[in-house]
């Protein structure tokens, strides 16, 4: 589908990787992956050296490849996260105090130039963000649909778990509705390439998507109530606890991050 973006991972593709492929990461316990995501978030938040951040990012990239996932798509999916980085770190690269990189550009606001400190900051922020983005995608693309569902049911309080489970289930259904609407409009010569002259068309397509979502929710309630639903969609299945060696890795990574932070960053004496 041309109008559905290839800058945003398609949930259908993500689950297809999780369901249909089999790689080393597919066999890792889902809780372990959640644990590692937490450790990585902590790490990219407290690590303060570019070399370290870049190294961590490199490791995650290698893991992504080892899991048998495609690098080419990853590049497309980086567009939006990179945009977020550019929009925050872009201006800072110029404003950050320090030695200018090359010669300054003179503007009405005064001399403007990327500083070395600014450049480092930019690269650091990119590494921080992309490390977690890459690993989150790795985890999503190697964890089975049902395991994700069970974990959502476990981690979130009622009624958020109920909402999240239905969201997960119906994202696929509604994506197809959206795609059908776009297809039908395209086949009658609709033009999606320019927004302003087609804003009403966009509004109708999106409006129909919302409308169909709401009507589906009305039918869904009927069918759930017909089976006695009262706000409690319990899942009996389970994701087993991680095996000892994986637990070791997770605990180890937290210890390493906290230890490094305590010693190197916050200067806690031993």
């Amino acid at each position: 589908m041309t109008t559905l973006s290839n800058h945003v991972p398609d949930p259908r593709l993500i689950t297809a990787f999780a369901e249909q492929r089999d790689g080393p990461l597919h066999r890792v316990n889902p809780w372990t992956k959640v644990g590692v995501v937490g450790a990585l978030v902590l790490a990219v938040t407290v690590f303060d050296r570019l070399a370290l951040l870049a190294g961590l990012y490199g490791v995650v990239l290698v893991v992504y490849g080892l899991a048998g996932l495609p690098y080419r798509r990853l590049a497309g999916w980086y567009t939006l996260p990179m945009l977020f980085i550019v929009s925050v770190a872009g201006p800072l690269a110029f404003l950050e105090p320090g030695t200018p990189v090359g010669s300054a550009l003179s503007t009405p606001l005064g001399d403007l130039s990327v500083t070395w400190a600014g450049l480092v900051l930019f690269v650091e922020l990119s590494c921080r963000s992309l490390t977690v983005v890459t690993f989150a995608l790795t985890a999503s693309m190697t964890t089975k649909y049902t395991d994700v569902a069970y974990m959502l049911g476990r981690l979130l309080p009622r009624p958020i778990d109920q909402i999240a489970l239905l969201t997960y289930r119906f994202t696929f259904v509604i994506l197809e509705t959206l795609e059908d609407l776009v297809k039908a409009a395209l086949s009658r010569g609709a033009n999606f390439s320019e927004f302003w002259s087609n804003k009403r068309l966009y509004a109708r397509i999106l409006g129909m998507t919302m409308l169909s979502a709401i009507e589906q929710s009305e039918r869904l309630v009927k069918s759930m109530e017909a089976r006695g639903y009262d706000g409690d969609l319990t899942l009996y299945g389970d994701v087993s606890r991680p095996p000892v060696h994986e637990l070791f890795v997770v605990v180890g990574s937290y210890v390493a991050v906290v230890g490094y932070a305590a010693v190197a960053v916050y200067g806690v004496g031993l």
């Binding site: 973006s5 800058h7 945003v8 991972p9 398609d10 949930p11 978030v41 902590l42 938040t45 996260p81 945009l83 977020f84 980085i85 929009s87 925050v88 201006p91 800072l92 404003l95 950050e96 105090p97 900051l121 650091e124 922020l125 977690v132 983005v133 890459t134 989150a136 995608l137 959502l152 009622r158 009624p159 958020i160 909402i163 999240a164 239905l166 969201t167 997960y168 289930r169 994202t171 509604i174 927004f195 302003w196 804003k199 009403r200 966009y202 509004a203 999106l206 129909m208 998507t209 919302m210 409308l211 979502a213 709401i214 929710s217 869904l220 309630v221 759930m224 109530e225 009262d230 706000g231």
Partner: protein, 226 residues
């Protein structure tokens, strides 16, 4: 181009903890009120599927400024009300983070921003409709207001937190962030106009959805329409 979310690792640890606590606080308050009011099954279904729609719509590339993506948070707020709107914001952020959009550590901050968009849009729409505005201007203004509120809140969050690893004084940071807020305001206007047209369209086929019929039977205690 997109509606900006905060990227992973942007903030120092203390800020991450702080915004997570705020996020948890907001969500807890909402959950408490929802539970106390007794959530009905149709509200759960509506919230679940509306979140799915919001998440699915994000896949559509809207060709302005090289392509923007939107969750229509303002619209979700108008349709689902402030409480469900806040929960939907959380759920959408969780799924987005899993696809590398947004951030796991800043789930709290991003949820605060999106929930504020939904909540402000809802009350703005209600107020404007109460003042007998037409559906299009009311929907467009309400969504623009909601999204702008979100943009300012995000700016404030960044300035308060400071960017991880930056030595820039707060004053200069504010200038840098102003550009970002401005950008988000631009997207807010576009999304607002689009929301206005969508609300207008929905009002023409299902007036009950935007509260144009039986306004009085609306569930005032939870502010939820379904």
């Amino acid at each position: 181009m997109a509606h900006i979310h905060l990227g992973e690792g942007s903030f120092p640890l203390w800020a991450l903890v702080l915004w997570t606590l705020f996020g948890v606080g907001l969500v807890s308050a909402v959950v408490y009120r929802v539970r106390k009011g007794g959530i009905k099954t149709h509200q759960i279904a509506l919230a679940g599927i509306a979140a799915a729609a919001s998440f699915a719509i994000f896949q559509l590339n809207i060709p302005v400024w090289g392509g923007i993506h939107m969750n229509l948070t303002g619209l979700v707020g108008i349709l689902a009300g402030p409480l469900l709107g806040a929960l939907i914001a959380l759920v959408v952020n969780i799924f987005s983070a899993a696809l590398g959009h947004g951030a796991v550590g800043l789930l709290g901050a991003n949820t605060l921003v999106n929930a504020s968009e939904a909540i402000v849009a809802y009350y703005a729409f209600k107020t404007l409709m109460g003042m007998d505005w037409d559906v299009f201007p009311a929907g467009a203004s309400a969504a623009t207001l909601g999204l702008s509120a979100g943009a300012f809140l995000m700016g404030a969050i960044i300035v308060l937190s400071g960017v991880n690893g930056s030595a820039l004084p707060r004053g200069d940071l504010t200038i840098a962030v102003a550009g970002l807020v401005g950008l988000n305001l631009g997207v807010a206007v576009i999304e607002g106009i689009l929301t206005g047209f969508i609300v207008q369209f929905l009002a023409s086929v299902r007036p009950d959805l935007v509260g144009l019929v039986d306004r009085d039977t609306r569930d005032e205690t939870t502010g939820v329409t379904a």
